[in-house]
């Protein structure tokens, strides 16, 4: 069974792809059949992943040391050989599990959420295609294949954000997401090409062997490789919504809520994190690059959290929290800890999917009313959603014993370990990491605050909107919520400090040697306190109403406006586009019209003129051609007979000597 699953791991992405094909080609008209096909395909993939997962856990770190690789050569030329196939190790299997699990749940949830939508078959087709691409990305054996699926994932994101293409904002958001990601993908492709040029291979395993000793294999200096790493990192930055490419992610909430849950919270956006994790060796080799990643991650985390405080739409807040959490993951990677990053990736996937799906329930109940200020007191109308949402909020805030507590604590811990505060810092930039650590701590506080701000506004108090009568979501939507809630609680326990070999998450998913993690009580207490403080503050402001948030706003209107308007990043970008890029474009347009077109038209004119001259020769009269032909013969004859060349031709013609 295991061998079958291992040998046929390619089936895991293929089945959803097949589902996509079948739905698009044949069953588009039959919505229920399409949904069944899609869900059936992803469930089979899930089962296969579970089989793989169980066996891998049983095998310990065998597969981490010796990944299973099944490839065939796709194409091969001197200096470049690309293989397609599967690379199965613990990290990819973990991702497979997460992706298939979340996708299955989201698809089931969508049955309820998307009920009655005319494009449901299309929706399932897209989701299947997305699942196929994401799973393909996860098990890709080399960077090029990864890039291919990476782009496919981006395409699916585009399709799903713009799912309701009738809405102008949706299609605009889709384009924004696509274009922003493309900007980063350019860097990624450039990085991949540079790696290929320098190392002659894109295979992940070979790269991880070659990169630590890059001076042996290439003529690159550390600076050069750092540049390559940072260029490469642009792709993950865009995909994972890191500053300054984060602008697309909040807008992506225009898509259906299950899509937001699936793609823009749990799976696709972590592709960047996953990719960096895959080639973390590259960054670990280069401390500056690592620091860059960490700075970007920590800054993004803090930055997004400050924006999230003032937002008024549930999904926007969740989107910014996603950006923030992705920043955490990047920070963990920047602290050279694959374990922490992947751990947070997994737990985040569960509780963020939970939160989004809960938000979906709320939106469903409130008839797509966006502003949270219209909500209130939803607790008594939809208890299941309330409780599961509470679990999600607690998890993201990092309260023991929820999943977020463990993963976030691990991130704090690895960052702390790299900082000068820990006393025995390893790495060349302890001071910088200290700042980063402080930023992460502040972010933890802010996270707790804004999550519970939203939570209290939505679920407590009185219902402010008078038009709607909220109701609990149907079973098909609440059951996935409950399942995710359970996972949001228990999934963190695999990271319990002190778990040893064969038990701890860090044993299965790691880079380098396994170390039993010791609980740093100081940090645990600090982060818990920060979270509790944030929660408490939120409760004071929005539940007990002890203080008025309005008063705070009036005290610092500038900061509020800055945060509310997302630091005017979008406007800044628009300004750049309008004033700089458009002007450059105008300039290039003129250049194109007058210079390039002039040259091209000049060639055309030359050809026309030449043709006009030459067509005089081409009379179309066979006799003219024959006449000229025979004139040529006469010339040849005269030439041959007067030059006295004894050529075979003259011999053929009669042998004049």
């Amino acid at each position: 069974m295991f061998d079958f699953a291992l040998n046929n791991a390619w089936l895991i992405p293929l089945l959803p792809a097949l589902a996509f094909g079948i739905i698009t080609l044949f069953t588009k008209k039959m919505i229920k059949l399409s949904a069944s096909i899609s869900i059936g395909a992803i469930l089979i993939s899930f089962v296969l992943s579970v089989i793989l997962g169980i066996e891998l856990i049983g095998q310990g770190d065998t597969f981490l040391e010796h990944p299973y690789k099944a490839v065939v050569t796709w194409f091969s030329m001197p200096g470049l050989s690309i293989e397609v196939g599967t690379l199965i190790d613990n990290i990819s299997v973990m991702m497979l599990l997460v992706v298939t699990f979340i996708t299955s749940l989201v698809q089931i949830y969508s049955l309820g959420y998307m009920r009655g939508d005319p494009g449901l078959a299309r929706f399932f087709a897209y989701v299947s295609l997305f699942a196929a691409s994401m799973l393909g990305l996860v098990i890709a054996p080399n960077l090029l294949i990864m890039f291919v699926f990476w782009e496919l994932v981006g395409l699916c994101s585009y399709l799903l954000i713009g799912f309701w293409y009738g809405k102008i904002s949706a299609s605009a958001a889709a384009k924004k997401a696509f274009i922003t990601c493309r900007a980063g993908d350019f860097g990624l492709l450039l990085g991949i090409i540079l790696l290929q040029i320098n190392f002659g291979t894109l295979d992940l395993q070979q790269l991880s062997v070659m990169i630590p000793n890059f001076t042996q294999y290439t003529g690159l200096t550390a600076v050069g490789l750092t540049v390559i790493a940072i260029i490469l990192f642009l792709g993950p930055m865009a995909k994972s919504g890191q500053f300054p490419f984060h602008v697309w992610l909040p807008d992506a909430m225009e898509g259906p809520t299950p899509v937001s849950a699936l793609i823009h919270a749990a799976t696709m956006v972590v592709a960047g994190v996953y990719l960096v994790g895959r080639i973390l060796t590259l960054f670990i080799t280069l401390p500056s690059a690592l620091l860059f990643v960490a700075i970007i991650g920590a800054f993004t985390a803090l930055f997004a959290a400050t924006i999230a405080i003032t937002q008024t739409e549930m999904k926007k807040i969740l989107a910014y929290s996603t950006i923030s959490q992705l920043g955490y993951m990047m920070l963990a990677l920047g602290a050279a800890s694959l374990t922490a990053s992947m751990f947070h990736l997994m737990t985040h996937a569960f509780f963020k999917a939970l939160l989004f799906l809960g938000a979906g329930c709320v939106l469903h109940a409130m008839h797509n009313e966006a502003s949270i200020w219209k909500y209130g007191g939803l607790r008594k109308y939809m208890p299941v959603t309330y409780w599961t949402f509470l679990i999600g909020c607690l998890a993201i805030a990092g309260i023991f014993p929820f999943a977020g507590f463990f993963s976030k604590d691990l991130i704090m811990e690895v960052t702390f370990a790299a900082s000068s505060l820990s006393g025995h810092a390893h790495g060349p930039f302890p001071v910088a990491y200290t700042v980063l650590f402080l930023m992460a701590a502040l972010t933890a506080f802010l996270t707790a605050f804004y999550m519970f701000r939203m939570f209290f506004i939505c679920f407590h108090g009185e219902l402010r909107s008078k038009e709607v009568q909220p109701h609990e979501a149907p079973k098909v939507m609440t059951v996935p919520l409950i399942i995710l809630g359970i996972f949001s609680i228990i999934s963190g326990w695999v990271g319990w400090p002190g778990l040893g070999e064969g038990q701890a998450f860090g044993y299965f998913v790691r880079l380098g040697e396994f170390q039993v993690m010791e609980a740093n009580w100081l940090l645990i207490i600090l982060s818990t306190l920060l979270a509790l403080f944030g929660i408490g503050l939120a409760a004071l402001f929005y539940w007990k109403k002890s203080f008025s948030p309005q008063a705070v706003i009036e005290r610092v209107p500038f900061l509020y406006k800055l945060s509310y308007n997302k630091y005017y990043i979008d406007e800044f970008y628009l300004w750049i586009i309008h004033n700089i890029i458009d002007k450059c474009g105008w300039l290039l347009w003129k250049f194109d019209i007058y210079v390039i077109d002039g040259i091209v038209n000049g060639f055309g004119k030359m050809a026309q003129w030449g043709g006009a001259v030459m067509r005089k020769v081409q009379t179309g009269q066979l006799q003219h051609y024959a006449l000229i032909f025979f004139m040529g013969i006469v010339l040849m004859l005269l030439l041959l007979s007067f030059t006295g060349v004894h050529s075979p031709a003259i011999g053929l013609m009669g042998g004049a000597k």
């Binding site: 067509r615 081409q618 009379t619 179309g620 009269q621 066979l622 006799q623 051609y625 024959a626 006449l627 025979f630």
Partner: protein
């Protein structure tokens, strides 16, 4: 000198036939190159065919290594070919004439466009 020339002139040999056939050939070629009417062109081609046959037979008569009539056989093949050619050629001319109501080769300028 004149004796030799007269001797050459009066003793009919291979050269005479070759020059005759060559001249005939080029007269046919002249018709092909310089006549407007496509049937005249066809007639020129026929003249060229015939003159080639003179060559074949003259060579067979004067330079054949053995008393074989290979040249004659080939002349017959050429004649058959000429017959086939004139049949197809006239068929083409008539079908073109039906379309264009002209036999002027200068009207047959489809090669141009």
């Amino acid at each position: 000198m004149i004796d030799i020339f007269m001797d050459k002139f009066l003793t009919i040999g291979l050269e005479h036939f070759l020059i005759l056939s060559g001249t005939l050939f080029f007269i046919g070629l002249f018709a092909v190159l310089a006549k407007k009417n496509v049937i005249a062109v066809l007639m020129g081609i026929e003249i060229m065919f015939t003159s080639v046959n003179i060559n074949l037979i003259a060579f067979n008569r004067y330079t054949a290594a053995e008393a074989l009539l290979t040249g004659h056989v080939f002349a017959i093949f050429v004649i058959a070919l000429a017959a086939a050619e004139v049949a197809v050629g006239l068929a083409l001319i008539i079908s073109i004439y039906r379309q264009r109501t002209s036999t002027d080769v200068q009207d047959f300028d489809w090669l141009k466009w």
